[in-house]
Symmetry: C2
Subunit: 258 residues, 2 copies
């Protein structure tokens, strides 16, 4: 019987994306893998799940590999649910998501399909990591990512992650020799200032494209934004108990039951 | 000049849902309102945003009301972004989302379109509240909700909410006289045990419906689940800095840079 860990691999850019192909390559050196990933790009899907329509999962063979791969019609969170309940022979030892084409640092974690897959696995009690490279292009160069992905994954398997926590890893888009190391961080306080591009259809109806500018409002040197700007790989531990515990005491002073 | 607060009203069940119609009724007694809500149901959309397609926002007049209403083709988070940047005359003083048809307590907050709208407003620095009634049916009875929605909203406008926090309010599905009051809570540790209903298309291809059973693993009497089971309205303050601060120290002991 194999003593290798069983690793579920997923993403949000779709099963054919170069990012997940790199992640598969690295994970094959660490464990037995099964891939369950969306059949089409799902960026910006947040933690969406499919409630009102059907889900398909088709076994596919993309690079004549020996492991199993399923292409799924759902969101990243759907992929993880379906994998765990229907497609995998047993509960996986780890779930990895990515490597995303583009940043999921700071507030981007909230909108991220990559991280929603990792969080879904975390909710199921499976150690999970989301990986992202700070390059949005399809032809991003994932070479420098490989050794960091491997190091972090091996540490997670060795040390474990407590229930309720998953890791959000972002990798700067520079060559491996320019990366200064791995840094543990908190999520920077940043947001997007949207600029809608308003246009008219050929029929004269208004419509909008969402565009925006990322604004980092956080000068802290312990943030993921600082780490990435200074050529570190950032790891932010994230949680899905989103209670703002610090505000409970104040709320209890409000006159709500008079 | 009006001294009334400007209130943005949105939801995830769609602009025609009885829940948002009730919320509009209550908010009109408190301030000047503008409605920007999805043109169709968006339940389970999590914090999805529309990146790869166009957005429409059409002015509509549903109940011959004097305030403005826009029906938007996007997700709840899109509605809030578009409202703030394009449709509202100024930054609103408050954003309310709901009243959702169905619970957004405990882990449901992660999947919730209702709460993603409130969180999006929070990211923009606007005090925000998501309201949900524990009845999934379209014909849910929102009568008992009204006074609690009004009380909580007035308190938020009076007291304010700190940056980075929004409120998640859930209302039990019982008559007003049976509701014991409003209770400040933390998010219960609970999850869904999915059961996929596997079927075959008429053409013989496998497909799945997502179904599931909600399992509360948390015996605490300070949770939203406990409050709701005991006929209290629950308020959980939630945050969008999801850093698991408690795990940073341990992570820093890992050998990641050797």
């Amino acid at each position: 019987m194999s003593k290798k860990p069983l690793i579920l691999v997923t993403n949000d850019d779709g099963i054919n994306a170069p990012g997940i192909r790199t992640l598969i390559q690295v994970m094959k050196t660490i464990g037995d893998i099964i891939v369950v990933a969306p059949d089409s790009p799902q960026s910006g899907m947040g933690h969406a799940i499919t409630l009102d329509s059907t889900l398909y999962a088709e076994e596919v063979n993309i690079n004549s590999e020996s492991h199993k791969e399923y292409s799924c019609s759902g969101t990243p969170a759907d992929c993880v649910k379906l994998a765990i309940r229907e497609l995998l022979p047993r509960k996986p030892d780890l779930c990895v998501s990515g490597i995303n084409h583009g940043s999921n640092s700071s507030i981007n974690v909230i909108y991220s399909g990559t991280m929603s897959a990792a969080i879904e696995a975390g909710i199921e009690g499976i150690p999970a990591i989301g990986f992202s490279l700070l390059d949005y292009s399809w032809n991003a160069n994932f070479e420098a990512s490989k050794s960091f992905v491997k190091t972090i994954t091996k540490n997670v398997l060795k040390e474990g992650i407590p229930n309720g926590v998953v890791l959000n890893v972002n990798i700067p888009n520079v060559s491996e020799k320019d990366i200064k190391g791995i840094k543990i961080c908190r999520q920077a306080k940043a947001n997007w200032v949207e600029e809608f591009d308003k246009r008219k259809t050929p029929q004269g109806k208004d419509y909008y494209w969402l565009t925006g500018k990322f604004v980092n409002l956080d000068g802290g040197e312990d943030t993921d934004e600082w780490a990435l700007e200074n050529n570190h790989v950032s790891i932010v531990p994230v949680q899905f108990d989103i209670t703002a515990h610090h505000f409970i005491k104040t709320l209890n002073t409000w006159k709500l039951n008079d």
